[in-house]
């Protein structure tokens, strides 16, 4: 690792200024859990490292008209947040199974998203939740649905000099069940072979699916929504059979690869199985939410 300068802005404004000044020579670091790996592997070798750890505007969780999560909020903070625990079990599933407690103490949700790995654990839940990324940059602020954010492996829609400040997530309607399933070889310190997030909102009858979201990690070059499978479920009474079919459709929409972590056929097979299983979890959770 060559020598570098470590910069510690204390406000978003200052961070943006530094990023503007050093441009391509600089890298933002929040938790550092992805950055350090790339740095050690010499995939990157920044001359300036701009830390977002001391920028208070980037670390918060609020739930009023909608849920807002600051980009530098750690996974551990989210895991312990009563708001997340009570209202967003899909996020809890994701943030509580990433790495280890030590990693979660450091790793941030903004880092997880901006690293843009196909395996990012928080990406499928944010897709299922219709999250919006709020971005600050030299031209001011802009917003972007998370579904438009990922452009390829390690590539995002962020322009030069931009920083994701927070994510906003609309309040789910009543009778909603949501879950994320991370399929792994072991129970900690692992990346998903496949990640499946499902969100199902039911109508007043409690049976008809008013809104379905199915999103997948490691199923394509970017985290993706299985829109055909979602459309198939919407307007239907969702049961095991319907979810089975949705799983098959989702597997058809996906384009997983064979890597050292899993082969294509297995990932396709798991999409079929896990969309159904995660969907069934949503039905259970929706019941619980309705009664609770």
């Amino acid at each position: 690792m060559r020598s570098y300068e470590y910069l510690k802005p204390t406000s978003l404004k200052e961070a943006l200024e530094l990023l503007g000044r050093y441009g391509e020579k600089a890298k933002l670091v929040a938790g550092g859990t992805d950055l350090m790996v790339q740095w050690k592997k010499k995939i990157i070798s920044p001359e300036y490292v701009i830390s977002l750890r001391n920028v208070p505007e980037l670390s918060f969780v609020t739930y009023e008209s909608d849920l807002k999560i600051g980009s530098a909020t750690t996974h551990r903070t989210l895991e312990l947040s009563p708001i997340i625990r009570e209202h967003f079990p899909i996020l809890l599933d994701a943030v509580s199974n990433l790495g280890s407690v030590q990693v979660r103490n450091s790793a941030t949700i903004g880092g997880n998203i901006c690293n843009a790995a196909p395996s990012a654990d928080t990406a499928p839940p944010l897709l299922a939740l219709d999250a919006v990324a709020h971005i600050a940059g030299p031209q001011g602020e802009r917003t972007m649905p998370i579904a438009e954010f990922f452009k390829g492996p390690s590539r995002t829609a962020l322009a030069s000099g931009e920083i994701v400040t927070h994510f906003s997530i609309p309040r789910p309607s009543p009778n909603t069940g949501m879950a994320y399933w991370k399929h792994t070889r072991r129970k900690a310190m692992d990346l998903p072979i496949l990640g499946v997030a499902v969100l199902l909102s039911f109508g007043q009858d409690g049976k008809t699916c008013a809104k379905a979201r199915i999103s997948l990690g490691v199923a394509a070059p970017t985290p993706m929504r299985a829109r055909k499978a979602e459309a198939y479920l919407e307007g239907k009474e969702v049961d095991r059979g319907a979810l089975d079919e949705a799983g098959k459709i989702a597997a058809g929409e996906a384009s997983p690869r064979t890597t050292i972590r899993g082969s294509q056929w297995y990932r396709e097979e798991m999409i079929r199985v896990l969309v159904r299983r995660t969907g069934l979890m949503c039905i259970e959770r929706a019941k619980g939410a309705a009664h609770g």
Partner: protein, 792 residues
């Protein structure tokens, strides 16, 4: 007198490891120390046509750049089949092509990037079966002596024949034959490889090493120095070591390179591997292709067993190529089989080469044999546990290999598995839920792989009443620092906290063959009994000289200080006969009056008096022992009583297989182990837990993915070690038959639990899904593919 310290779960003495105070190789720095880094090959098989190091040499802070072209041509390794820095060609991706010493690691790394190596590719071969074929690319054109080689088969024809296999076959009612494969797995020590080499002005080498064979390492480095023309000798120092599991048995190439760099620069040179390097450039356990055929008569009695093993040796030879000597143990002796044929062929390929790993060939051999046992049980229509009970080893029998079994509670271990798993209810359902069993035997009382299997020990008593045990053995985390104290305390009459241990310095410590083959507790225990008896005798003799006058003086002093004190009427003459005395808790007392405080003295006072005699002849207490056990080297036929005793056990596993995802969950795990006697039950359980989890990783998740010679997953994310969260509900059952050949009745327990785990799990998965998977590990993909392919 009942034993005071042996057999108790004494807490460990090396608590400084969890405080961060323990000094590992990572923590050690020497003045003027340089950092060495190694450039590895970018090709699996190629001629080196040119190396340009000029840019690296010019980089500020670089002190030396070495290649095969500017270092002497000195062969190293078990078969002398390589030189430290490769010159003619590279034969694997981990081949060391150049090395740099620089004032810090960053500069050393930068220098590596400036070295240009030009290669001319050669055809490569990665499959041992392909490599054996005529016309396969030759990995080595000549052997260590320069004699041309005709093929890639190593000149190590492992072979064992006993009885009459043909006769056995003709007596069989049922016969099964199948082929199984295992893969590369890594020892993954918490502490990575590293060393510091430094020459003094007399050209003697001081070598700080993580070896667990200090004297063997010294021999190899001394020979290396001689061959380099350096007239000095080596002193090896070992700091705390973060695990070995076999990986630190041989002197590795980076160690020779550190010596070359230190010699060149005349500065101390440290080489420390990072995790990537540890995975790609340190030798793991090799894969095998094992074909096993065995039969039984109509009553289920084994009639014969034929095993052929092909070992992927990789490009060079280390101890991995000698593991068939231990494979012979289970192949010939696991269960009673009268007729045996075993053959192993080690084959050079362009893959990474292999070392020893916990179990030393036994995990692969037991994996093969125990799956075949289940297949044969099915064929014969006998329950797998009953089938094993019919064939179980018994105490006091000699196996076809010539292993003399002493104590053997194999049946007891099988019964424990049967009861604790509720076997009868669960076996044979094929509904996703299954149970499996595998037994093992392993050397429990050393293994005579050299002409000596000895350990030297010195015990020294100081005038503070402390005993120092100076031992040639090493500790790499197994807990010997605790059990040595327990056993020394027991043997000498001190307390464990009065015992200090000095080890890890070949200049001072007495000779030892190495801490391998689960032998340390056995050998050091015997040496402790031998030296401890001398210490006791010397102390009691010394006490008989001094105690009378010391006590008399004490009494008179007390009487002077306390007018009310009346000197009691005691017969101090009894104290002058050593036979009347005994020692316990560091105090010497009269056997006939052990509770009399007036007639009892701490050892410290006696030893101090013997040291400080004024004019005259003082005495000190030092005792030595060199214990070499009565085991035998294998003869030319591969036969002989390799160990003083053998340890047995059975692992039983209950699994749930997710039939849609192929994931295997272990619901229950019984690990029943014959340990002879547990010196420290807590540490024995620790060994059983740790080795079982290592074995379960072998069975379920661990695999170095080697693709065309390259390790594809050289990191802890993609090499799937089981984590704390994957904990397996292990029920360790300690069976203690009290081994007569063992010190305090013990047998070795370092390796055994790693041996039967994978086959037990494989058998349980086969029971759960009704189809057998024949290669490791049992990944969800393989399990699901097997389920989907069932009946096809």
């Amino acid at each position: 007198m009942a034993e005071q310290f042996v057999g108790k779960s004494h807490p460990r003495f090396d608590a400084e490891k969890v405080t961060g105070k323990a000094r590992f190789i990572n923590d050690i720095k020497a003045p003027r120390m340089l950092y060495g880094k190694i450039l590895y090959s970018k090709r699996p098989h190629a001629r080196i046509t040119h190396i340009d190091t000029s840019k690296a040499e010019r980089l500020q802070g670089v002190r030396a750049v070495l290649t095969g072209f500017n270092t002497p041509d000195v062969r190293v390794g078990f078969l002398g089949d390589q030189i430290a820095l490769k010159r003619d060609k590279v034969r694997q991706f981990r081949d060391e092509v150049a090395a740099v010493a620089a004032i810090n690691e960053e500069i050393a790394e930068e220098a590596l990037e400036l070295i240009r190596v030009e290669y001319e590719d050669l055809p490569a071969v990665f499959d041992p079966i392909e490599a054996m074929k005529e016309g396969a690319p030759l990995i080595h054109e000549v052997d260590a002596r320069g004699k041309p080689r005709r093929n890639n088969i190593l000149p190590l024809p492992w072979k064992l024949e006993a009885g009459d296999v043909q006769k056995g076959r003709s007596e069989s009612a049922f016969v099964v034959k199948d082929t199984f494969r295992t893969t590369w797995v890594h020892q993954v020590c918490m502490g990575t490889s590293g060393c510091i080499a430094e020459f003094d002005v007399n050209n003697n080498l001081q070598f700080i090493s993580v070896t667990n064979v200090p004297f063997g390492g010294k021999d190899r480095l001394d020979m290396f120095l001689r061959n380099l023309g350096i007239r000095g000798s080596t002193r090896i120092l070992t700091p705390y070591v973060g695990g070995s599991f076999g990986s630190k048995l041989d002197t590795d190439i980076y160690e020779f390179i550190a010596v070359l760099l230190a010699w060149k620069t005349k500065c101390p040179v440290k080489i420390l591997f990072d995790r990537l390097e540890e995975f790609t450039a340190s030798p793991p356990r090799q894969p095998i292709i094992g074909t096993v055929e065995q039969g039984c008569d109509k009553d289920g009695r084994l009639t014969f067993r034929v095993v052929e093993m092909i070992l992927d040796n990789g490009a060079y030879t280390s101890w991995g190529a000698t593991t068939p000597s231990v494979m012979m143990v289970p192949i010939s002796t696991l269960y009673r089989v009268p007729n045996i044929s075993f053959r192993a062929t080690c084959v050079y390929t362009n893959n990474i080469y292999a070392q020893a790993m916990r179990g030393y060939g036994n995990p692969q051999a037991t994996y093969v044999v125990e799956q075949s046992m289940d297949q044969l049980a099915v064929e014969a229509g006998i329950d797998p546990i009953e089938f094993r009970l019919i064939n179980a080893n018994e105490p006091n029998e000699t196996s076809p290999m010539g292993l003399k079994i002493t104590t053997c509670p194999m049946k007891e271990c099988l019964e424990e598995v049967k009861t604790r798993l509720d076997w009868k209810k669960k076996q044979g359902k094929h509904d996703g839920h299954g149970v499996g069993v595998a037994c093992f035997l392993h050397v429990g009382g050393g293994a005579r792989v050299y002409r000596s299997d000895a350990q030297g020990l010195i015990l020294k008593v100081d005038d503070e009443g402390k005993v120092t045990a100076i031992t040639g053995g090493t500790d790499q985390g197994q807990g010997s620092e605790t059990i040595i104290r327990q056993m020394v305390a027991e043997a000498t009459g001190f307390r464990p906290q009065d015992v200090n241990i000095f080890q890890g310095d070949t200049e001072i410590c007495p000779w030892d063959v190495g801490t391998h083959a689960s032998r340390h507790a056995f050998m050091v225990g015997h040496a402790i009994l031998m030296a401890g008896a001398q210490v006791r005798a010397k102390l009691l003799a010394m006490a008989s000289t001094w105690m009378g006058q010391l006590i008399s003086r004490n009494l008179q002093k007390k009487a002077r200080q306390d007018p009310d004190f009346k000197i009691p009427d005691v017969d101090l003459s009894l104290l002058s006969n050593p036979e009347n005395l005994d020692i316990s808790n560091g105090q010497i007392f009269l056997k006939s009056d052990p509770d009399n405080k007036l007639l009892r003295l701490p050892v410290a006072q006696i030893v101090r008096s013997a040291h400080m005699v004024g004019t005259g002849r003082g005495e000190m207490i030092v005792a030595e022992a060199f214990y070499d056990p009565p085991n035998e080297m294998l003869n030319a036929e591969g036969k002989g009583n390799l160990s003083c005793c053998y340890t047995f056990g059975a692992h039983g596993v209950e699994v749930q297989v997710d039939q849609e995802t192929g994931q295997v969950t272990i619901l229950n795990y019984v690990a029943a182990h014959d340990v002879g006697r547990a010196i420290n039950p807590m540490l024995v359980k620790g060994q059983i837990y740790g080795a079982t989890i290592m074995g379960a990783g072998y069975g379920l998740t661990e695999e170095m993915q080697v693709n065309a010679g390259r390790v594809m997953n050289p990191n802890l994310l993609d090499y799937k070690l089981l984590t704390a969260k994957d904990k397996i509900p292990i029920d360790p059952v300690i069976v203690e038959p009290i081994e007569p050949s063992g010190p305090f009745g013990l047998k070795g327990i370092g390796e055994p639990a790693c041996v039967p785990a994978a086959p037990a799990i494989a058998n349980a998965v086969a029971d759960a899904i009704g189809v057998r998977i024949k290669d490791l590990p049992l990944s969800p993909e393989k399990v699901l593919a097997a389920i989907k392919g069932k009946g096809r």
